[in-house]
Amino acid sequence: MLADNNLDEVIEDTEMDMRKEIYEWKDITSEFFDSVEELELGELLHHEMFGLFEAMSAIEMMDKKMDIGMIDEKEKAPLTFEVAVKTGQLKLDDLQCDELIGIYDSLFSCLVSWLEGHSPAQTVFTCLYLHDTTVINDKYLASFCNGILKLTGIIRKFITSARVYEEEDFQPAIYNFNLCSELSDQKVVAMMKEAENDIQKKIKSTDPADESYENLMAVFNRMKFTRLLLQCLLLLFPTKSFSPNEMEMSEISKLLTNAVELVPLIKKTISKGTKPDDENDTPNVMGFSPMVNQRLLPPTFPRYTKIKERSGTYNYLEILSQNLKHACKIINCTNYQIALNFFMEFSKKSGSCLLSRSVLQVLYLPVPNKVFGATNLTDVLKDSLKAFIAPAVLMPKNPLYNNPQAKECVDSFFFYNEHTFVMFLEICGFNRARQRDKIARLLDNFASLQDEAERVDTFLDKQLNGETSVGTCRTSFGTWVLYYCLRAMSLFLISGLELELYSVHEYLYVFWYLYEFLFGWIVSALTRADSFLLEQECISEQFKNLSKGQKKSKLKKKKMKPYGRELMFTQALQNVCGGYYKALAGFHKANRIPQPLAEFDLEQIRYEHRFAPFAELSTPPAIGYNDFCSQKWALLKLTQEELFLSAAKHFHQARTILEHISNLDAEMTDILKIAKINFVVMNLLANGHKKDSPVPPEFDFSSHKCFPIIKQQ
C-alpha cells in the first residue's frame, strides 16, 4: 500500500529529491514504547556509527530555547504584514508624532541589535513596515523606512567587504528581503530631505510654546540624523574602488559632526514616543512582530532576541558616529607604520564597533593591494621601509639603487610578502578576543618573512661588496621586519592581560618576557633604525655642504628624532613591565602570591603554553622555560625589600620618561598615573609596610586594561 496522505505529496514537492520520497508508514507507537522498556537504565541503543558524542549536538524538540519552530498553544501565530494591513493593525496614513517617534526609536533599537550580532530576521525585519514600504502613505514614515532599508544595505556592504567579523559579531544573511532596491540611493536621500523640509515648515508655523512644537522637533531631528548617517556611509564607500579624497573626507567629517550634535537632542525626547509593550517583548506597540520571521532562521538559533533599549541605542549611535569621524583621519596616514599604529589605536578604543572598524578597513584598502585605491601597497611599504631605516637599495643616490639584480630581489621580496602586512592590518579589525587568536597564526608568517628578509640583506650585502658602503645598515630589511614581528608578539602577550586570561601567579613570566625581551628588543630595533637614519642625514648634509663649498657645518641644529615619541613610550612601557616583574618577584619572595594546588601545578607546561606561538620564530629566538627559571632564581636571591625598591625605581623611571613626552595622549596619561601610584606603593612596601601581611596583593585594572594599579591591603 503506497501512502497517499497529503503529507507525502508535500514531500514530493520539496527540493529533497535526494531520497526518493515514497514511503509506506506503519504505526509502531505502542510497539516502540514497549520495546524500549527492555533496555537497561542508561543503555543507549544506537547504530555503530553513532555515539553519545554525536547525540550531544542534537537539537531538543519541544524545548522552548532550542526548538524555534515549536508551536505553542498559548502563543498566538505571529502577526504577518498582510494580516496587519488587512486588519488595520498597521497604520499607514497620518501617523501622530508620538507614533512616529516610537517607531523611529524602535527601528534604531533593532538596527543596533543587529549590529551587535543578532540576526536581521529577529531584529530589523521584525518591523512589518519594512516588509513593503510602498504601501505606507505617510510621507515621514515611508521615507524614514526607506532610509533604514538603505542604511541596512550600506552597512552590510561595508561589513561584508571588510570581512573582519566572525559569527559572534555579525549575521550578514538578509533572507531575500528587499532593501528598497527599486529606488536609487540618491532618490531615497532626496525623499528624506523633502520630508525634513516639510516638517521644518510645520515647525515654523507652530508656536514654540506649544507642546506639538517639541514633538515636531523630535521627529525632525531623527529624520535628519538618519539622513546624515546614511549620506556619510554612502559617501564613504569607495566609488570605483577609490576611497574618498581629502576634500570629500572633510565634507563627510562635517556631516558626521552634525549627526553627533543631534544625538543628545534625540536622547532627550525618547520619552515623547510610544512605549514598547513590556508584556510581549515587542520593541514598540505598533509595527513590530518579533516572531514573524522565525521559520527563516537556521534550526540552532536562539528563539528570542533581546532588543536593545532605546537610550542605550542612541549612546551606541553617538559613539559610532564619533568613531566614523575618527576613521576618516586614516586618509592622512600614507606611511604603513603610521597606518598600523592608527589601526591598533582604533581597535583599542572603547566602543569601537564592528561597523566603524569595517569602514576603516575598507577606506584604507578598498582593494587588497591598493592603499586608498590609488597607490600600490608595495610602494607604500617601500616608502615606509625607506622612512624607517633608509636601506641603500632604496636610496636614489646609492649605486645599488640602479643595480637590476638588487632591484629584482627587493621587488620579489615585496611581491611574496605583502600579504603578511595586509593580514596584520586586517587582524586589527577583528574583535579583541579573535585578534589574539589570529596573531598567533600571523607569527607563523613572520617566521618565513624574517628568513626572507635576512636573505635579502645578505644578497644586497654581497652586491655591495667592493663598492662604497659608507653608512649602510647591513640588516635593514631584517630590522624592519623584526620591528613588526615584535609589535605583533607584544600585542599577543598584552592582549592576554586585557582578556583576563592569565592568573596572578602567571604574571611573573608574562611581565618578565615583556620587560626583558619584547619591549627591550623594540627599543633596540628603533634605536638602530634611528641612529642609522641620523647617520644617513649627516652624510647627505656633508655631501651638500661640500658641493656648496661651505665649510661651516649646520649639523649642530638639533633635529627631532623620527621615532622619538614611540621610542620613549616603548621605554616607558618597558620600565612599567620591569616594575611589575620586580614587584611580583617581591610578592613571591614574601609568599603572597597564591599558587595553584600542587596536583594541578606544572609551571613549565603553563609557560610553554603561554608562549607557544613564539616557538616558530627563529628571530627573535623564543626564550625557554629554563632561562626563565635561572633568571628567576638569580632575582629571588635579593630580599623582598630590595625587590620592591627596584620595582619602585622602574616605575619612577617610567614616570620620568613619560613626563618628557610632549602632548601625552589619553593612554599615556593613564599609564603615567598608574606609574606614579605604583611607585608610591612600592616605596611603602620597600620600607616594610605590611611586611608580614599574608593578604595577596590586588591588581586593579580599572585605569588601564593591561597595566594594573597594585594595591596592598
Binding site: 509502531i28 547504530h47 542534537a58 537539537i59 531538543e60 534550526p299
Partner: protein, 105 residues
C-alpha cells in the same frame, strides 16, 4: 578535548555492556535494532511531523533522528533540522517506513 576522551570511554564501556547483554537479547531489543537507520515519522504533541533516520534511543524513549525534516500542517514547506532529539513526552505517534527496507547508510 577531555570531553571527547571521556565520551569515547563511556562509549566503549557502553559497547561492552551491550555485548554482555547480547546473550539475553530480547525480542524488543531485536525489534529496535531492526528499525535502526530506517525512516521514522514522528508526530509531536504540537502537531508537527518529523521525518528522519532513527539513530538512537534509550529506556526513556528519547529518540534521536538524523537528517530530519520538519513538516507543519499549515504551510507546505519542509524545514531541514539535521540532528534532533525528541523526548517521550513530546511524542504523539511513531511510524516506521516499511517501503524502503534496505539500509540507507
Amino acid at each position: 578535548m577531555f570531553l571527547t576522551e571521556d565520551i569515547q570511554q563511556i562509549n566503549s564501556e557502553k559497547l561492552s555492556q551491550i555485548e554482555q547483554n547480547q546473550a539475553k537479547d530480547s525480542n524488543g531489543r531485536n525489534k529496535l535494532k531492526s528499525w535502526l537507520n530506517r525512516n521514522f515519522r514522528i508526530e509531536m504533541i504540537d502537531g508537527r511531523k518529523l521525518i528522519g533516520l532513527f539513530l538512537c534511543t534509550d529506556r526513556d524513549a528519547n529518540v534521536i533522528l538524523g537528517m530530519c525534516s520538519e513538516f507543519r500542517s499549515l504551510d507546505s514547506e519542509a524545514r531541514n533540522l539535521g540532528l534532533v532529539i525528541i523526548k517521550k513526552c513530546a511524542i504523539k505517534k511513531i511510524e516506521v517506513d516499511v517501503f524502503n527496507q534496505g539500509e540507507i547508510l
